[in-house]
């Protein structure tokens, strides 16, 4: 077993690709074969990844695997190597959790679609590519995985070709995605030109000799390239469309792991390969990107009329949080960012599944045509509320814990450097959080509460296999918030340590002493210490005590006090009717999708410009991407200077 475990990383990826192959052969006709292949592949792969936890997280090892045993010779990495450190495994855990739950959910969710054999193939390819991406130690292999990921993601976006805008979303995604991949590939080519190696550990060692203009150019290109994959703001446009148009089980995979792949790539690039984050100006550049992303994402979300498109913009916004925090360059910031990435996987996955459940049950995700579903779908409503509270950062859910890390990290940077810029970041983060809450209140009101339209009176709760993944994610949201000290000790601290110790990464891959020979030294990073105090478990216990006291009072006093009347009454019985001030029952005066006109009115000009920019033209989107990349490259050149 112990000897065999070294093969797990690569097997976990291969099982998924093998499954994709088998699904195309055997899953074409037979539903059972398809399901068996899907579930067995994802569960085997997940089990293998989970089996790596003790070694990497508890014992602090860095696992390596050389394909075909082509180990480095004379200090040169010839073969393709997989390297699993705590950071890679952290993201791998997010990936396997996401695709396992999504696979279970898709069993019933996708049952009304045709060509499910292709769906299974593409789904497994997507899973395999993202898993490979976070585990690989070879930068060209990483590029190939990125390409497979984009390819499968585009095909899955277009999977429901008959639905509104799916084809167009896929086309935009393909164009912007290809521009991003092209930038990544040119960056890799330039790096190879400079370093004559493709192994990330060796690259890191070689680059410690100083950056040439070509490698600075490579850094700029690859930052932009991974920015496209993580959907940072000038590159975010296809995300909104693709998340909306894809089936919900796929949207969950997109926001749970596909954009995390971009985040992972960025972290790996700037921290491990280039080790460039000791320059504050680069940190600030990335923080500006992240902050703009979170703000633009959330304001656009406030203006949306479609449940899934709203969630898509929130995905963009939350990735902004992650990038901002990770770019702070402190242990607390990186841990907060990783924590938020993990929480985003949980709550955004949950919310997309809820959107899928609404679509499955009601046949639409248009906020103006939904309403009052809480009586028909009580479980989905409960799960949705948990997800909404988590993303809005209400204590004691997980979103609060990670946002709390992020605020403290940003603010401690602000006060320790005396730079007012970080204060602006902190304030923006808080405001974005309130706006997130606002837009989820809007969804709650427009979809689950409010009035039930007549055509939705036949809606029923979704099947059990769709509710189980939602329940698992809800539990995750609650547990992550309540037991954040445990999470930060076991998962975040090792992962953050891996970010700050590139020499360990180099030595594990290229042999001990390589890092020292190359002059790579790790900055003495402090251990993760959360400065504030917040004990959610105790808070919850206290809250429960008060609630219990209330119920005691209610139980003992029921006979004497006013009894709660059951809502068995009819609407036309005046006592149970909703108050309309003597008028005939009218629909709400404010449509569900435009709930906050008091706010919108003040921001009218901003919204007009922002919505105008999201014009839907693929040319515009491509030009944002190109201009954004050019600006980013110029800024990075200015930071490192011409030499």
């Amino acid at each position: 077993m112990k000897e065999f475990i070294v093969h797990f990383p690569v097997l976990a990826v291969m099982v998924l690709f093998l499954g994709a192959f088998l699904a195309e052969i055997f899953g074409f006709r037979s539903r059972i074969a398809r399901r068996v292949i899907l579930l067995s592949c994802v569960s085997v792969s997940a089990a293998m990844i989970f089996a790596l936890i003790p070694a990497v997280f508890l014992r602090g090892e860095v696992l390596t695997y050389w394909m075909g045993a082509w180990e480095p010779a004379a200090g040169y990495a010839i073969g393709i190597g997989y390297e699993i450190d705590a950071l890679g495994l952290f993201f791998a855990l997010l990936v396997v959790t996401t695709f396992c739950l999504s696979a279970v959910y898709s069993l019933r969710y996708m049952e009304r679609d045709r060509h499910l054999g292709h769906y299974t193939t593409l789904f497994l390819m997507l899973c395999g590519s993202v898993l490979g991406l976070v585990l690989t130690g070879d930068i060209f292999n990483l590029f190939v995985m990125v390409e497979i990921m984009t390819f499968a993601a585009v095909a899955l976006t277009a999977f429901r070709g008959s639905s509104h805008g799916a084809l167009e979303a896929a086309f935009k995604y393909l164009v912007i995605g290809s521009i991003g991949s092209g930038m990544t590939l040119s960056g890799i080519a330039l790096l190879y030109l400079q370093c004559h190696t493709l192994n990330m550990a060796q690259l890191s060692a070689v680059l410690s000799g100083g950056l040439t203009p070509a490698s600075v150019f490579a850094l700029g290109l690859m930052t932009a390239g991974f920015g496209v994959k993580a959907f940072l703001v000038p590159f975010h446009t296809p995300a909104a469309d693709a998340y909306t148009a894809a089936p919900s089980s796929v949207s969950m995979v997109f926001s749970g792991m596909v954009n995390k792949a971009g985040v992972y790539g960025l972290i790996r690039l700037v921290y491990t390969v280039f080790r460039a984050m000791d320059r504050e100006s680069l940190q600030i550049t990335l923080i500006v990107l992240g902050t703009v992303t979170m703000f633009a994402g959330v304001t656009m979300a406030l203006a949306q009329h479609d449940f899934k498109r709203l969630l898509a913009f929130h995905s963009i916004s939350q990735i902004g949080y992650v990038i901002t925090a990770v770019s702070l360059g402190t242990v607390l910031g990186v841990s907060g960012g990783l924590f938020h990435a993990m929480n985003h996987t949980l709550f955004k996955g949950l919310l997309f599944l809820c959107a899928g459940a609404v679509y499955y049950a009601a046949g639409t995700t248009d906020l103006d045509r939904l309403g009052g579903l809480s009586k028909k779908m009580p479980h989905t409503t409960a799960f949705f509320l948990i997800g909404a509270f988590s993303i809005a950062g209400l204590p004691p859910f997980n979103g609060f814990a990670s946002k709390w890390f992020i605020y403290q990290a940003a603010w401690s940077r602000a006060v320790s450097t005396g730079n007012f810029f970080y204060t602006v970041v902190t304030v923006t983060a808080v405001i974005v959080s309130v706006m997130t809450l606002a837009s989820f209140i809007k969804v709650t009101q427009a979809v689950f509460f409010g009035q039930l339209p007549a055509q939705l009176s036949q809606v029923r709760e979704v099947p059990l296999t769709m509710r189980i993944p939602m329940a698992v994610l809800s539990l995750g949201c609650l547990a992550g918030g309540l037991f954040y000290p445990f999470v930060s000790e076991t998962l975040l601290a090792p992962a953050a340590k891996a970010v700050f110790t590139p020499s360990v990464y180099i030595d594990a891959m290229m042999g001990a002493g390589t890092a020292q020979a190359a002059g790579v030294t790790d900055a003495a990073a402090a251990a993760l210490a959360v400065p504030g105090t917040w004990d959610p478990v105790l808070w919850l216990i206290l809250l429960v005590i008060v609630l219990l006291a209330f119920f005691l009072v209610i139980l003992t006093g029921e006979k004497t006090r006013g009894a709660v009347l059951d809502d068995g009454g009819q609407e036309d019985d005046g006592r149970y009717a909703t108050f309309f001030g003597g008028e005939r029952a009218l629909p709400s005066h404010v449509s569900g999708s435009d709930l906050f006109w008091g706010f919108r009115k003040n921001w009218d000009g901003y919204f007009r410009i922002a919505q105008g920019l999201h014009s839907g033209r693929v040319n515009d989107y491509a030009s944002y991407a190109v201009i954004g990349a050019v600006v980013l490259i110029i800024v990075i050149f200015l930071i490192f200077g011409f030499r």
């Binding site: 709390w404 304030v427 809007k442 009035q451 105790l538 009819q570 108050f579 906050f596 008091g598």
Partner: protein, 332 residues
């Protein structure tokens, strides 16, 4: 034995002092003062001081109707959750340096805990299925967005002033700093922030002129429209408790200090006496703040439209807080 005593002590703090009973009583009292003084300002006699308390008990005895459109569970649970979260929050606010439980919560936690009752109100209103409530929750949310910006700016100014180049969100440390350097209100750079905070309090509590969310005359109390009986009473109680909590938060942030210490007789007697005295001082300060920022403003202004309210908070109030933050940032 020790464990049982500790559990009993916790129960006492949560349910009686300074938990649920204490904040409810003080909140209702403050609300009574508010109404009485307001009436006097308008040359009316006004209700008796205990009128809010009478109203609360009267509502407890009334029948509770659940509209047929409402989601019953959320509709009934929302007020209870709101009250419970408010009662627990008082445990985190130090009364002159002494947080009742050893839990210290920092400012960010307080900021987010404060949103829970507001969200409870919004969800309750939303669950009632009434179109008036729909407008009410929309306004409530906009009000929340409006005051959150000045509030975080005020918090950051306080944190910068008291923490210097260190991260300082801990309320205990803020109070300790004030015990050493004098209350923050007497540092002139913090005066704009204190003013901003005074504006935030009525919006958070929802009193006129910032009560667009409940505007009785236009949308019939907005989120509360379908509520009756005990749940309505709880929501009214929540408003009263918020009145006390927000003013107490103001006192902690700007008028904090070590309080008084009585060294009289045995240790326990001195401790009890000083706790009592400190509480009384806090109450007096809270009353003064209430009169200043809620009653007085209520007496002389009319309700703002929701879009004007938002603009006011994001320009004037946030501007005040920002001035303080910049002044403090410059080391003044």
């Amino acid at each position: 034995m020790e464990l049982i005593l500790k559990a009993l002590g916790t129960l006492f703090s949560v349910l009686i002092y300074p938990g649920f009973l204490f904040v409810s009583a003080v909140g209702l009292l403050l609300a009574g003062f508010d109404r009485k003084v307001l009436a006097r300002m308008q040359k009316r006699v006004g209700p008796p001081l205990l009128q809010p308390a009478y109203d609360f008990f009267k509502l407890l005895g009334k029948e509770t109707l659940v509209p047929s459109r409402a989601n019953k569970a959320v509709f009934l649970a929302a007020p209870v959750i709101g009250t419970a979260s408010l009662a627990v929050m008082m445990l985190f606010l130090p009364i002159f340096g002494r947080a009742p439980l050893s839990l210290r919560a920092d400012l960010i936690v307080i900021l987010y805990l404060l949103t829970i009752p507001a969200v409870a109100l919004i969800l309750g209103g939303s669950a009632s299925g009434s179109p008036f409530a729909g407008i009410g929750i929309s306004r409530e949310m906009v009000v929340m967005m409006a005051y959150e910006l000045p509030l975080i700016l005020v918090f950051l100014a306080v944190a910068r002033k008291t923490g210097g180049s260190e991260l300082c969100f801990s309320l205990e440390r803020i109070v300790a700093w004030q015990a050493e350097h004098g209350p923050l209100l007497f540092h002139w750079a913090m005066i704009p922030a204190a003013l901003a905070m005074l504006f935030v309090i009525p919006a958070e509590v929802g009193t006129q002129p910032f009560d667009a969310a409940e505007a009785e005359t236009e949308i019939c109390e907005g989120p509360l429209i379908e509520y009756s009986g005990a749940p309505l009473g709880l929501f009214k109680l929540n408003t009263a408790i918020k009145m006390f909590l927000m003013t107490a938060l103001f006192c902690t942030l700007f008028l904090g200090g070590s309080g008084v210490t009585v060294t009289l007789g045995p240790i326990w007697l001195g401790a009890a006496l000083s706790a009592l005295l400190n509480t009384l001082i806090l109450l007096a300060l809270c009353l003064a703040v209430t009169l200043l920022c809620m009653t007085l403003v209520h007496a002389v202004t009319a309700r703002l439209k929701i879009e004007h309210l938002f603009r006011f908070y994001w320009t004037v109030v946030a501007g005040l807080a920002l001035i303080s933050l910049i002044l403090v940032w410059l080391g003044l």
